[in-house]
């Protein structure tokens, strides 16, 4: 898994590539914890995300909860498979997917 960060002021865009599973989820969690302080607009780019497991969903949930308090969060470029997972798990209801 690769994480690419792009920050402009309080706007942060994070592109996640590869598999976001039990093994890699803690890495993304640590990265986000470290960088979303003071961010008001977070964009998660999943264009190159191949797979997301429940551990990955948990990280998304946590971030979403934090961002609910300090700004907004958008998930974009979600492919069909990830989109299905979001749908099955009901995450479509709590995430802003573009």
């Amino acid at each position: 898994m690769t994480i690419n960060k792009k920050q402009e002021g309080t706007t942060l865009e994070i592109a996640v590539e590869g598999r976001l599973d039990t093994t890699t989820a803690p890495q993304l969690e640590a990265e986000l914890k470290h960088s979303i302080d003071g961010i008001t607009a977070l964009t998660m780019d999943f264009a190159n995300l191949e797979y997301i497991s429940s551990a990955g969903l948990r990280v998304l949930l946590s971030v979403q909860k934090v961002m609910n308090k300090q700004g907004s969060m958008v998930v974009r470029h979600v492919n069909e498979m990830i989109s299905e997972i979001f749908e099955v798990t009901g995450f479509v209801d709590i995430l802003t997917i573009e």
């Binding site: 039990t22 497991s53 429940s54 948990r58 909860k65 995450f91």
Partner: protein, 719 residues
């Protein structure tokens, strides 16, 4: 890599050998250099000596030759001059006699005549002046008597000459008219045996005729005097009065003194000399035989007895040259020098054998060579001594080196040996290592490092022991936990052996010791079966703990309500409390009315259920989905109805099935799962699970199991 077959060579021996080798090579190199230098020096000395000898010989012999030639020539010239003086003196004497005679003739008118007596036998051999006559003389003529008496004045001169000059034995004046005045002591010869006075024909004598012919000073050829054994020479000069020949004055001389002069021209013992007359006749010679020797009786002519270079040299010598030449005399190389006697045209020859000339040079070079040989021998002895000394030094040094290197190597390696022994002591559990030597070098550092290392190892062993114990404890606990978790789930199959109307089978296989998946089923009443399939986010102990809470809450709620919607909504609210870690759980919960097959269900973020209808084919039921449980409070869930036909089957699973991954990271997927189910769709629930599991395993291959794999199948049996 160690060669096990090779015996160990102790370090001490190695160091010892290395030092010894180094010393040996050094000694050999130094020795070789010294020997080489000595040999070079010796060769140089020999070359220098030989060159010196040759040079000395060359210079010496050349110098000797030049000196010898010069000396020989000078000596010959001196002696020749001395010999010549005898003749010139005689000539001078005879000249005076002739001048006196001429004076008498010129002044005949003024000078009174003096009588000269006839030879008197009674006088014996006393010196006397007397007159003799020719047979043709006209003794009676007045003119003859007057002339004889005029010339009688010459008698004292004649006497003076013989008495003053030792070598002159006789002098005389012979008149053309027939008388002869003579001064000597041999007048007995003028008488015959009977005592009668003999006549003497002076004009017939060679000295008379020669002088007249020469019209000046004349020397006769040497004549051999048989009585004395000496050679005699006569010198004569014609006397004129007003161009008229009046007579001849002369003197005879023995060459006794010349013999001495010639012998004085001899150099050394082997040198020789000889005197040749104008024709090459040998007058005197110190040589007794062979070339350049005098004849025994008659005159030997040197030109006749010699040949080749010597003859050529003699011809030139007789011709009047002064020269020196190296030529063979009697087959022996000799320096031959010649110098003329100007007055008589004779030649003095001096011979010096070459041996005498070269002998000093040879003796000098010989001495030099001997000296050189001595020096060489001496230097050879020194070289030998030096060589032996060197050899002894090498041997001694080697012995010393042997001793020193042994001690040195032992001293160098002793700490290493000690260290090795100490290290050897470390065996098994005994890791204690103490170093009490202080070599203050790398070995010290090594030993101390080793000490530190053993301490650390001890520490690590202690740590590892503790960690292992801890791990074992955790492992044991986890295995208990696994068992507890397994026991929490309905695990006795067949679960409802008394029921003929349905069959249910489930399995959970956690990826780790404990998992986050769970299933549950129980009968609410005789006709209502509650089925739960859930998946907690994450894996391992956190997921397991959350799973326990989730299962308990859901199970509890199901006791109070027959509405899946209500059960999950309440459970959601309960779960999201104190859920700081944002754990969540996906849950499918359904309540089946067994008698009718009517199913009320809620899907909270869980996988789609799969249902097999009467057509005998499993198909995914795309049901309504809600949000996962435990995230946001107050969530509302939608409940839906479905029907399991008689003979139909419900298959529930977690994402561990659909998302099982092979080595190429390819997901197993629901399509493959459906295929696996439909390969034998009418199999009983347990067999269905086994089939799917086998298919997953075949797909995944050697890739590790990522997620918990949990499945449940419920068949509503045909009555």
């Amino acid at each position: 890599m160690n060669d096990a077959n090779k015996p160990m060579v102790p370090l001490e021996k190695k160091v010892f050998r290395a030092i010894l080798r180094l010393l040996l090579v050094t000694l050999l190199v130094v020795g070789a250099v010294i020997v080489f230098q000595l040999l070079q020096l010796r060769r140089g000395m020999i070359t220098a000596n030989v060159e010196t000898g040759q040079e000395v010989e060359s210079i010496s012999s050349q110098a000797m030759e030049e000196m010898m030639e010069e000396n020989l020539l000078r000596l010959t010239a001196e002696k020749a001059s001395a010999a010549d003086k005898v003749f010139s003196d005689l000539g001078q004497t005879v000249s005076i006699l002739a001048k006196n005679a001429e004076y008498l003739y010129e002044n005949d008118a003024k000078i009174d005549g003096v009588e000269v007596h006839l030879p008197d036998r009674k006088n014996g051999d006393a010196l006397d002046v007397y007159v003799t006559y020719s047979d043709k003389a006209d003794q009676s003529s007045k003119k003859f008597q007057t002339e004889q008496e005029l010339l009688g004045n010459l008698q004292w001169d004649l006497l003076a000459v013989t008495s003053e000059h030792e070598e002159v034995n006789s002098d005389y004046f012979a008149a053309e008219s027939g008388f002869m005045l003579q001064a000597d002591n041999v007048y007995q010869e003028q008488f015959d045996d009977e005592g009668n006075l003999l006549t003497f024909e002076a004009k017939e004598r060679p000295w008379y005729q020669g002088a007249v012919e020469a019209n000046g000073l004349y020397f006769t050829e040497p004549t051999h005097d048989a009585s004395t054994g000496d050679f005699a020479v006569m010198c004569s000069i014609p006397v004129y009065d007003r161009k008229e020949l009046k007579g001849v004055a002369g003197a005879g001389m023995y060459l006794t003194s010349l013999k001495e002069t010639v012998s004085e021209a001899v150099i050394g013992e082997s040198g020789s000399a000889c005197l040749l007359d104008g024709n090459g006749n040998v007058i005197f010679s110190t040589r007794n035989s062979g070339e350049l020797s005098a004849g025994a009786e008659d005159l030997a002519n040197a030109l006749d007895t010699t040949k080749g270079d010597l003859k050529q040299f003699l011809i030139e010598a007789v011709g009047g040259t002064q020269a020196v030449s190296l030529t063979a005399v009697d087959g022996e190389n000799a320096y031959v020098s010649c110098s003329p006697l100007g007055t008589v045209g004779w030649t003095l020859i001096s011979v010096l054998p070459e041996d005498i000339v070269t002998a000093p040079t040879q003796s000098l070079t010989g001495a030099l060579a001997t000296k050189n040989d001595e020096m060489l021998q001496q230097s050879d002895r020194r070289f030998l001594t030096a060589f032996i000394t060197l050899l002894v030094a090498v041997v001694v040094l080697m012995l010393v080196a042997n001793l020193v290197s042994k001690r040195l190597s032992s001293r160098l390696t002793q700490p290493i040996v000690a260290l090795t022994d100490k290290v050897r002591e470390i065996e098994g559990d005994n890791l204690s290592f103490t170093w009490d030597q202080h070599t203050n070098d790398e070995i010290d550092v090594l030993a101390n490092s080793f000490g530190t290392m053993t301490k650390r190892i001890e520490q690590y062993i202690a740590d590892i022991t503790a960690i292992t114990a801890e791990k074992e404890r955790i492992g044991a606990e986890l295995s208990v936990a696994t068992q507890i978790q397994a026991d929490m789930l309905p695990c006795i199959f067949p679960a409802f052996p008394e029921r003929e109307d349905f069959d249910i089978y489930a399995s959970m296989c956690p990826a780790k010791e404990v998992g986050g998946d769970f299933y549950d089923f129980f009968l609410m009443d005789d006709d209502h079966l509650v089925m739960v399939m859930a998946d907690v986010s994450g894996k391992g102990v956190p997921a397991a703990l959350f799973m326990v809470i989730s299962k308990t809450i859901i199970n509890n709620q199901a006791q109070f309500s027959d509405s899946p919607k209500q059960i999950l909504e309440t459970a959601n609210n309960l779960l999201q409390e104190n859920n700081a870690e944002d754990m969540f759980v996906t849950v499918w919960l359904g309540i089946l009315e067994i008698s009718t097959g009517k199913l009320k269900a809620v899907n909270a973020g869980h996988e789609y259920p799969v249902i097999r209808g009467t057509d005998g084919k499993f198909e995914i039921l795309k049901d309504k989905h809600g949000m996962v449980l435990g995230t946001i409070p107050g969530l509302k869930y939608r409940e839906y109805d479905a029907e399991i036909e008689e003979g139909g089957c419900l298959f529930l699973y977690t994402d561990g099935v659909a998302e099982a991954t092979d080595a190429k990271n390819e997901l197993y997927g629901t399509e493959r799962m459906l295929e696996a189910l439909n390969r034998d769709p009418l199999a009983n629930p347990q067999q269905l699970l086994v089939n799917v599991r086998a298919d997953i395993d075949a797909f995944v291959g050697d890739a590790p199991q990522f997620d918990d794999i949990t499945m449940m199948a419920m068949e509503r049996k045909k009555q």
